[in-house]
């Protein structure tokens, strides 16, 4: 269990660096798929079975396919993105400095966090427990997510669907 956790954490970090370091967006997407798989295993170690499943199905299955479709459709017959010198070429060093500062801040917070995990009941995190909570206690939030998705669909149709299609 603890070995699994550390393996998945190392995979998580390495693939995250690959995501932001790859030159071509498709390589980033592939690294992100591995990243999501490692995160799904981490969810499993946290007794979150349903979250592990939707991490694979929704994130790796739906959102990343959307990314891949956009990349393939955008880069037909054109150069890959990020050509030419950057107009903001000085942004690399400040962003790394900002990242290290954020990491120091978060590390201080994590070190100071007093977390004592009590023993979880045996049915904690089961899909049935999750569904029961989602459809009884948190029913209103569940309904609102449907509304959010409806608004997103309407917005995408409004922005992306045009009559004139040029290829």
């Amino acid at each position: 269990m603890i070995g699994l956790f550390w393996i998945c954490t190392v995979v998580l970090i390495v693939t995250a660096i690959a995501v932001i370091g790859s030159k071509h967006p498709v390589h980033s997407v592939v690294a992100l798929i591995v990243n999501f798989a490692a995160l799904a295993v981490l969810f499993l170690t946290l007794n979150a079975e349903f979250l592990a499943m939707i991490q694979i199905i929704i994130y790796a299955g739906a959102i990343l396919v959307l990314f891949l479709f956009v990349i393939t459709l955008l880069t037909i017959g054109t150069q890959p993105i990020e050509v030419g010198p950057s107009r903001l070429s000085f942004q690399a060093v400040p962003s790394i400095v900002a990242g290290i500062a954020a990491l120091a801040l978060l590390a201080a917070g994590v070190r100071g966090a007093r977390t004592a995990a009590p023993a979880a009941p045996p049915d904690f995190g089961f899909v049935g427990t999750f569904g029961l909570q989602l459809l009884t206690t948190h029913l209103f939030a569940f309904e609102v997510t449907g509304f959010v998705l409806l608004i997103a669909v309407l917005g995408v149709i409004l922005m992306a669907a045009r009559k004139e299609v040029r290829f």
């Binding site: 992100l32 946290l46 993105i81 978060l106 922005m159």
Partner: protein, 100 residues
């Protein structure tokens, strides 16, 4: 049982990598992927604290966050497609019309 602080440390590292990627890259699709990394770091913290406090609400929140992340990715990619239609290239440095 793995302590909650280890999960928090992993999530902090993931979040910081996402921040650095978002600030460094100029390609909006890669920037969106960096944002996804940050969403996922937040999700990991929610799930870790759900187990820490033996409360399913954290996991429910992760479910809702994933839904909102899907909506955000769809909207943002539609914006990228729109920008590409107008300019035939995608580089956030060049999309500065709203800067005034």
């Amino acid at each position: 049982m793995i302590p909650t602080n280890d999960y928090l440390a992993a999530a902090a590292a993931l979040f910081v990598i996402g921040v650095i990627g978002f600030l460094m890259r100029r390609n909006p699709i890669t920037m969106l992927m960096a944002i996804e990394l940050m969403w996922n770091a937040g999700n990991l913290v929610f799930a870790a604290f759900a187990r820490n406090f033996v409360d399913m609400s954290g996991q429910i929140f992760v479910f809702i966050v994933i839904t909102v992340a899907a909506a955000e990715a769809a909207i943002a990619l539609a914006i990228v497609v729109m920008v590409f239609r107008r300019r035939r290239e995608v580089d956030v440095d060049d999309v500065s019309m709203l800067r005034g």
